[in-house]
């Protein structure tokens, strides 16, 4: 059966519900936990500092500016390093006399000339004498 609810009935029922109150130990338990949490936080310097750049649009702009400066600095530093590397490479390629030692008593010899190459070693390995066949009797 469908019962009709008037506005007064709803107000009365809600008001009656509003009178309900939990047992006092619920509040005591909750307060104990609050005290415990507050005490466990302590007064440490690092925990007291909170930086929230997302709190305000101006802070967003400041945070973005910091990131942009850091990124530009990184790119600038990388291009300087690249330029230095390229400069030293160009010098070494275009001016080979720079690599010659100024000391008159010593001559800088390339590694390629001073050490035997693998290609030369292979050349000698290819020349080999066939051993005599086993069935051939040598007198």
């Amino acid at each position: 059966m469908r019962h009709a609810w008037k506005e007064q009935d709803i107000n009365k029922a809600l008001h009656k519900m509003g009178q309900a109150s939990p047992a006092p130990e619920v509040f005591e338990r909750a307060w104990f936990k609050i005290e415990e949490k507050v005490a466990s936080r302590g007064n440490h310097f690092w925990t007291s500092i909170v930086w929230r750049p997302w709190g305000h649009p101006v802070r967003w702009v400041a945070a973005m500016a910091c990131l942009a400066v850091a990124f530009t600095g990184f790119l600038y530093n990388r291009s300087i390093v690249d330029q230095q590397e390229m400069g030293s490479y160009v010098i070494s390629v275009s001016n080979p006399t720079e690599n010659i030692t100024k000391d008159l008593g010593m001559v800088k010899v390339s590694k390629l000339l001073s050490e035997p190459s693998y290609a030369v070693a292979n050349l000698f390995e290819d020349v080999h004498v066939d051993p005599a066949p086993e069935d051939q009797i040598l007198l």
């Binding site: 029922a13 809600l14 509003g18 309900a20 109150s21 939990p22 609050i34 949490k37 507050v38």
Partner: protein, 182 residues
């Protein structure tokens, strides 16, 4: 100690101030959380969280509105956050733990004078409308206080209450409950 003294102490980081404020407002915060979240367990957690937030943020309280209004705003926002999170978890397919706890605590809720039929019907009302209705009919706040606490216009508060009552009436009639049963 008066409320103002307690607030000043709290602003200086003295927990005795929070203790006084807790004694003054704990029942209202608990009751509002309970009706918003539908479970005494969640209400107990909400009570803790809200008073910890009060202790953290009371430095921002400048006395523009009554402390109780400020506290109500904080409680309502906290409850709305929890309900939003629950909705997301339900959407993602996670088990809704608070509902299970609620069923376990069903007998306890009845003992405390909460009608399970109305509690169930209240769950079907949108969160903001429910907050307006509960503040008005259970906690007997004025329309202005509700508007200030929920940061809504006066007209919006009135229409939310009207819609919530209409929905509640529909739900209760659908369930076949008579007003005498409650």
């Amino acid at each position: 100690m008066t409320e103002l003294e307690a607030i000043n102490r709290c602003q200086r980081g003295d927990i005795t101030g929070l203790d006084v404020l807790y004694e003054m407002h704990r029942t209202k915060v608990f009751n509002l959380s309970w009706r918003m979240l539908g479970s005494p367990h969640d209400a107990e957690d909400s009570l803790q969280e809200v008073f910890l937030k009060v202790f953290d943020r009371i430095k921002n309280y400048r006395g523009d509105s009554a402390f109780s209004t400020w506290l109500y705003r904080m409680t309502t926002n906290h409850c709305l956050d929890i309900l939003r999170r629950r909705k997301i978890l339900a959407f993602l397919g996670f088990e809704n733990a608070p509902e299970i706890q609620d069923k376990k605590a069903g007998a306890k809720v009845m003992d405390l004078g909460l009608s399970p039929v109305i509690t169930k019907a209240l769950e079907k009302i949108p969160a903001k409308q429910k907050a307006c209705l509960l503040m008005r009919e259970m906690d007997e706040l004025s329309y202005e206080d509700i508007a200030s606490a929920l940061q809504l216009s006066l007209g919006s508060v009135k229409s939310n209450i009207h819609r919530a009552k209409a929905l509640l009436k529909e739900e209760l009639e659908k369930e076949g409950v008579s007003p005498e049963d409650v």
